[in-house]
């Protein structure tokens, strides 16, 4: 039973990382931009939740409406810049890394480098869980799993059933031909990057529900988030969710039956094997890349 409980803990935690990974995967897959500034947007989303919840007393989940709008703008502006200067895939890595560092420094200057944490009076979720028989489902990550499912279903529907979604898929597969068919890739790209920014804000809000905040948190997320993007398949939204659950579940189980110290070894061994045998990801998708 304890192994099952540990796996549940891990899988739910993995769903939070899936939310963090979703926007990164979409932008990488469809726009060919490896946007490390996405981690900065997650960080800003987390701190906005902290700030709004602690100063106004409103429920931290509600604060995501403001955070999502702010990060939509952030993501859209960054993408507009990438479009304006026709930034290549590799250069996007370097430029967005710079943006991430700037964001971390800004957060450090505004909120200090010290640990910040919403008090239990402000954040009622941190230590709560739902019980199902002998099993416990931690509320912060259970909420994250709920958001992950909603975001993935919404993204899938938009990609498969709307003109913009299909245009994005066409653009992701071949820019020139998509352009020849009249697809306005600039506008679509900015919209997608904005939406990815909004998912980053959601990821940040979800992170702040269960964790203490500090400006260097993005460097703790980056390895696991990239592992989920790779295993899920770049641009594959459902794959991202499955990969999050898989990575988290394996990590939790490994911690329980072996050691927490062995979890990174097992997870990244899986990533290496996946890159060798399934370089496009573990989960095939019609819309994937």
């Amino acid at each position: 039973m304890s192994q099952l409980q540990a796996t549940i803990f891990g899988a739910l935690s993995g769903s939070l990382f899936a939310v963090m990974a979703l926007g990164l995967s979409l932008v990488w897959g469809f726009l060919k931009i490896i946007n490390l500034a996405h981690f900065g947007m997650i960080l800003l989303g987390a701190y906005l939740t902290f700030e709004l919840a602690t100063t106004t007393g409103i429920d931290p989940i509600i604060t995501v409406m403001i955070g999502a709008m702010a990060m939509f703008l952030f993501g859209a502006i960054v993408q507009a810049g990438f479009e304006r200067w026709r930034v290549s895939e590799f250069n996007s890595l370097l430029i967005s890394y710079g943006l991430l560092i700037i964001t971390v420094q800004v957060v450090s200057n505004v909120w200090t480098a010290d640990f910040q944490r919403m008090d239990s009076s402000v954040n009622p979720y941190a230590a709560q869980s739902l019980a199902l028989g002998p099993l416990r489902f931690p509320l912060p990550t259970l909420i994250a799993a709920g958001f992950a499912v909603i975001l993935v279903v919404a993204a899938k529907l938009i990609l498969e059933r709307t003109y913009s979604g299909r245009a994005l898929q066409a653009f992701g597969q071949d820019r020139d031909i998509a352009g020849a068919f009249g697809i306005d890739h600039t506008k679509l790209g900015i919209l997608l990057a904005g939406a990815a920014g909004a998912t980053a804000a959601i990821g940040g809000m979800l992170h702040s529900l269960g964790e203490s905040l500090h400006p260097d948190a993005p460097f703790e997320w980056v390895g696991r988030v990239f592992a989920i993007v790779i295993l899920g398949g770049i641009g594959n939204v459902t794959g991202t969710l499955y990969a999050g659950l898989l990575v988290g579940g394996i990590s939790g189980l490994t911690a329980a039956v072996w050691s927490p110290s062995a979890s990174p070894f097992v997870v990244f061994s899986l990533v290496v094997l996946a890159l060798v045998f399934r370089p496009t990801g573990l989960f095939p998708s019609k819309a994937g890349h």
Binding site: Q5, A6, I34, L93, D119, A127, S129, V222, S261
Partner: protein
């Protein structure tokens, strides 16, 4: 490839070296009566500082993952230097602090101390923050023959340079002192605690306390606690930077120890407590080795009764016995921390360690009557130092200059940290598992 790129980026992030925020402290020069540093610093002139400044060089992590604590040392050190200059400076000269931001990057420490000594030509140095960084600075200081006062090294056996002087000491063998002190605390509770769980960050200082040094057969918590009659029912090491507390909480719930010993850092104990709460599991007692003090207080009842280590807490009975000048220091420190918008403004162990380390430097220089490092080192070995937050201590090179520890155990009671052990230094009675 992307993951490798990501990992490289993480490494690059840690090594980002473009933001050295060098600050200098200009000498003030006004005179106040009395010993405003609260020390018995010999030969303090009390007159107005004049002449060329004496430059003290050091690094602190003002950005990066260690900066939360680094800034505390910066504020406390700055306050010390300001007060030193206000009371006449050092050897009658003003003191200037050349402080470089090491960006929490341990790989740059040696290079930066080399720069401070060789290029900047600083007169004196102060150690950086955290054991690995102090270990990195030590060979540079030794090569140049500089005295190295330092505030926060735990791995005492590795600090072999004879002119390294600690401002905070858990004795020459913290791996023995801490578990024995904990066992003393548990002994005092009768039979309320008989089983413990060790949850250990695999980083240098914390792992040293739990398991001793790698490849060295020596006592540590994992051997001392069983010898003292406390069965270890779970032993869970976890990696540096761990955020997955759920599976560890599951292991602890299954083991049902009377006390969970979180040999961790920062907010790791917070994460574990949250995860245990989510399981509806609350161990009778929790000990956290080196936690960030502020966030635990924000956890309310979940962290009430939690134990940790300390050198100084400004509890009312302890403050009342303190030199009035030092009481003033703790208040001014809190004001400066609040002005810096840091969330936890209490003058406690970290700030006290900084104050002690600067006191060692000043007493050494005043005692030697010069900036000759060998003379300073010899003076400190011969005379020891009167530390504001530890009293008179002596430095024995055989013990790597680590003096007998004045470490106390503190406990969260009613939303505040209070000293509870040893009994003769306690500000409040130790609350056991049953309150």
């Amino acid at each position: 490839m992307a993951v490798l790129a990501a990992l490289l980026l993480v490494v690059a992030a840690c090594g980002d070296g473009g933001s050295d925020a060098t600050t200098t402290t200009a000498a003030a020069g006004t005179t106040t009566e009395g010993d405003t540093l609260g020390t018995e610093a010999p030969d303090t002139t009390g007159g107005e500082a004049s002449g060329d400044p004496i430059v003290v060089g050091s690094t602190l992590p003002l950005t990066g993952f260690l900066s939360a604590t680094g800034v505390i040392h910066q504020i406390a050190g700055q306050l010390y230097v300001d007060r030193l200059n206000d009371s006449g400076g050092l050897l009658g000269r003003p003191v200037e602090w050349n402080l470089i931001d090491d960006t929490s990057d341990g790989a740059r420490i040696a290079e930066l101390y080399e720069q401070l000594i060789s290029q900047d030509g600083v007169d004196l140095i102060m150690g950086p923050y955290a054991t690995p960084n102090i270990l990195a600075a030590m060979p540079v200081a030794e090569r140049h023959g500089y005295v190295l006062p330092q505030h926060t090294a735990v791995l005492a056996p590795a600090l072999t340079y004879e002119c390294q002087f600690p401002g905070w000491s858990i004795g020459p063998a913290p791996n023995e002192f801490i578990p024995n002190q904990l066992a003393d605390v548990f002994d005092s509770l009768g039979d309320e605690v008989s089983t413990v769980a060790l949850v250990t960050n695999e980083g240098g200082s914390t792992s040293f306390v739990s398991y001793g040094r790698p490849d060295v057969e020596e006592p540590s918590a994992s051997t001392i606690l069983p010898e003292r009659g406390y069965e270890i029912v779970a032993d869970v090491p976890y990696p540096i930077g761990n955020t997955e507390w759920g599976p560890i909480a599951v292991t602890l719930q299954e083991a049902q120890p009377d006390a969970v010993l979180v040999m961790g850092l920062g907010v790791e104990a917070n994460g574990l407590i949250d995860a245990m709460e989510q399981l509806d599991y609350s161990p009778p007692m929790i000990f956290a080795l080196f936690p960030a003090p502020g966030p635990l207080l924000g956890m309310g009842e979940a962290a009430d009764g939690l134990l940790s280590v300390s050198m100084f807490e400004p509890n009312e009975p302890i403050l009342a016995e303190l030199d009035p000048e030092l009481q003033d220091v703790t208040e001014e420190f809190s004001t400066r921390v609040e002005e810096a918008d840091l969330p936890y403004s209490v003058f406690e162990t970290q700030a006290a360690a900084t104050w002690n380390a600067w006191s060692i430097l000043v007493q050494g220089v005043e005692g030697a009557g010069s900036l000759d490092h060998q003379a300073i080192c010899d003076y400190l070995h011969e005379n020891g130092a009167d530390l504001p937050f530890a009293g008179q201590v002596s430095f024995d090179p055989e013990q790597n200059n680590f003096w007998p520890s004045n470490q106390v155990i503190k406990q969260i009671q009613g939303g505040d940290w209070v000293v509870v052990w040893p009994e003769d230094r306690a500000a409040s009675e130790l609350a056991g598992p049953n309150g």
